[in-house]
């Protein structure tokens, strides 16, 4: 963790402001299965039809394209991933008729590591100023995330002054000692750089990066759930992203490199059929709980290179038999991770499943068996003008990203202070010059 990393995040914040000023920007979800994009317009004063606006944002267009070169949240083939992003952006641009310059990106995976740290600073009976908060944040010790890691989020969770805890905003409060607890989320640097490079190669400005877990939580969880405590599990094609929310803040995030694409490849291997055909079978006939009726459903298999007339068939029971173990494995992994962070000791054990793979019929009952009673399937909270085909759970992260852009969470780098500690007055002047010219 260095000053340069702070500058990168600050630069992103700067571009965030630029994007709002420019008025038109896109939110982009780079997934293993699909890359989707919403085009949003920002205006300070909503005109005419307030129903068409979500806050100060207005959804102008949506564009979706199948992903290539992305697997388990990692960009394996940058050129192909760029092509996909360009395709999506071109479609969106065509719909809007304007050039899109600014994008906000969410992506799953990246092997996120989450940590909570705290720091204190002396107030000496004075009122708390912003610089005190910055000092407290700067006093937080950084846990060792290991080499090749990039801090993605550093969000203050709550503050305390002396023995008063749970303060959301301590500005103006008096006391002797100000303390802060902060949630840090770091991802693998190559993943971060990959996304950055792809966006840059598409001539776009990256205005913000959000972990998929955080985005999905904002998109799916209700305000009550976020306050009382809930875990959101976004099971995508490549990764299952977990985010734990409590008192409105994300307090933990994790990612399991298992997802719906594995189920598809299992089916493809089991029946010896192409991947696309396997995907079709999964979405058309798939499920998690077999019934006696399923034995009777014959499913024709289209096999590449097979002679005409020679058709193989299978039954739905067999298909479900292939799907179930893999889904169980994914849910077991999720449970393991939740147990590791003592989720089951929390007062509320609400779990919300979302993401493309959560559409498998019967998953909620299977999840209730493995993860606990309070499981529900989540679809994104509706935003104005969201088209019908973008209301499924696979758009949870993208819708959540819209919410996140609308109300960005406080981050460490929004407060001055880190550099102040690390540099003398001359260094600060140089820094000011460097950051302003």
């Amino acid at each position: 963790m260095t000053v340069s990393m702070f500058q990168a995040q600050r630069a992103m914040r700067q571009k965030y402001r630029q994007a709002l000023k420019h008025g038109l920007f896109a939110v982009l979800d780079i997934g293993a299965w699909k890359t989707a994009c919403f085009v949003l317009r920002h205006e300070e004063d909503m005109r005419a039809d307030p129903l068409a606006w979500q806050g100060n944002l207005r959804l102008e267009a949506t564009a979706v394209s199948a992903s290539e070169g992305v697997s388990r949240g990692e960009i394996l083939d940058m050129r192909r991933a760029e092509k996909v992003i360009r395709t999506v952006i071109r479609r969106a641009q065509k719909e809007v008729g304007e050039c899109i310059d600014h994008v906000f990106v969410t992506f799953g995976g990246g092997n996120p590591v989450s940590a909570i740290t705290s720091g204190t600073t002396e107030l000496g009976g004075e009122r708390t100023r912003e610089s005190d908060i910055a000092d407290a944040l700067a006093a937080c010790p950084l846990p060792d995330f290991g080499a090749g890691r990039q801090l993605l989020h550093a969000q203050p969770l709550h503050f305390w002054i002396d023995n008063r805890t749970g303060l959301g905003d301590p500005l103006g409060q008096t006391g002797q000692e100000l303390g802060v607890e902060m949630h840090l989320l770091a991802v693998d640097l190559p993943v971060f750089d990959g996304v950055l490079g792809c966006v840059r190669n598409c001539d776009l400005e990256l205005c913000g990066l959000t972990a998929a877990g955080q985005a999905a939580g904002l998109g799916v969880l209700t305000e009550e759930e976020r306050r009382l405590g809930a875990a959101v599990v976004d099971i995508g094609a490549g990764t299952a992203d977990i985010a734990l929310f409590f008192r409105q803040h994300m307090i933990h995030a994790a990612s399991i490199p298992l997802g719906g694409a594995l189920v598809t490849s299992d089916i493809a291997y089991a029946f010896g059929i192409p991947f696309a055909e396997a995907e079709r079978l999964k979405t058309r006939f798939g499920g998690c709980i077999a019934t006696s009726r399923d034995d009777l459903d014959e499913i024709p298999l289209e096999v590449e290179g097979e002679w005409e007339g020679e058709r193989r068939t299978t039954t739905r029971t067999e298909l479900i038999g292939v799907i179930v173990p893999r889904m169980e494995e994914i849910l077991e992994a999720v449970r393991e991770r939740l147990e590791a962070i003592e989720f089951y000791a929390m007062p509320s054990q609400r779990i919300v499943l979302t993401g493309g793979a959560s559409q498998l019929p019967g998953l909620d009952r299977m999840a209730a068996r493995i993860l606990g009673d309070q499981v529900r399937l989540g679809v994104p909270i509706r935003i104005a003008r969201l088209p019908e085909n973008a209301r499924g759970p696979e758009f949870a992260a993208l819708v959540g990203l819209v919410h996140h852009v609308m109300r960005p969470s406080d981050e460490w780098w929004d407060f001055e202070g880190f550099e102040r500690r690390s540099k003398g007055p001359v260094g600060r002047i140089i820094h000011w010059l460097a950051s302003n010219w």
Partner: protein
Amino acid sequence: MRPLKRRRGWARGNRLVYALERLWLRRPVRLLMRVVLPAVVAFLVAHSWLTRPGVLEGFHERYLATIDWIESRPEFRVRQMRITGASAELQDDIREILGLDFPASVLTLDLEALKARVAALDAVASARLSVQEGVLEIAVRERVPAVVWQRRDGFELLEAEGHRVGPLARRMLRADLPLLVGDGADRAVPEALGLIEAAGRLAPRLRALIRIGERRWDMLLESGVRIALPEEAPRAALARLLVLDRIHDLLARRISRVDLRVAERPVVRVAPAALPVVFLGMAPEPAVMAGLPTPAEDMAVLAAPAGAGAPGSTGSGDNGDRK
């Protein structure tokens, strides 16, 4: 290893196409390509063509020919001019001043300007111009001369309102009209006409009305008697004179001047016996001369109605009026 043939995914994200597409979506670029560039090209083409010798001249010629063709259409042609309500002299004047060549075109005739030119003639009170079936109709209302005005350089005919009608070569050409003399007489023609009307039986004997100092009238009779009228209420003064004349037969006497400027004191100058009316440039009439009373008698007559009329007061008032 890099494959010999690039595997093409279905995603079409050619970078050049993408960049061009984005460039095209920029408003200034689109404006440049759609408006500025065509405008520049069109300008250059037009410029290079028009600056070739003969092109612009050809345009001009064709334009003139077209205008000519339209104007010479029979529908627009004016073949002649008809003037109504004007004397032969005035008709000639109007024709001369308009100077139109027929046939002309309606489109080139500026009726308003022509009307202004006709109305500018002194003898024209008003004019109405119209074109009907190829004839330019000019309906003129002529001014009627009411008086002759003698100026230092000649005679002029004036209308009843005082407007100039035209020059007059000799007085005797219009002996029927009264004569006005003096600067500023033209501005008081209605008053003069009123006086002539009020003169009643004096009117046939009137030789001229003389404007004195551009403010009042002197009335000159055939007999050479000069009647000085006041500036205000000259008609009343004249009426008084007529009464005097009827009672005392004043004007038949041998006097040269009656001064009525002071209403309560009319003054009469007796004509000197050695200098008969010849002094006023008029042929003496023996019959009148014979019956003239003596100056002493005159004075006696006038002194009675005017109260304290003194013979010495006549000279003082006269000096200022005579120019």
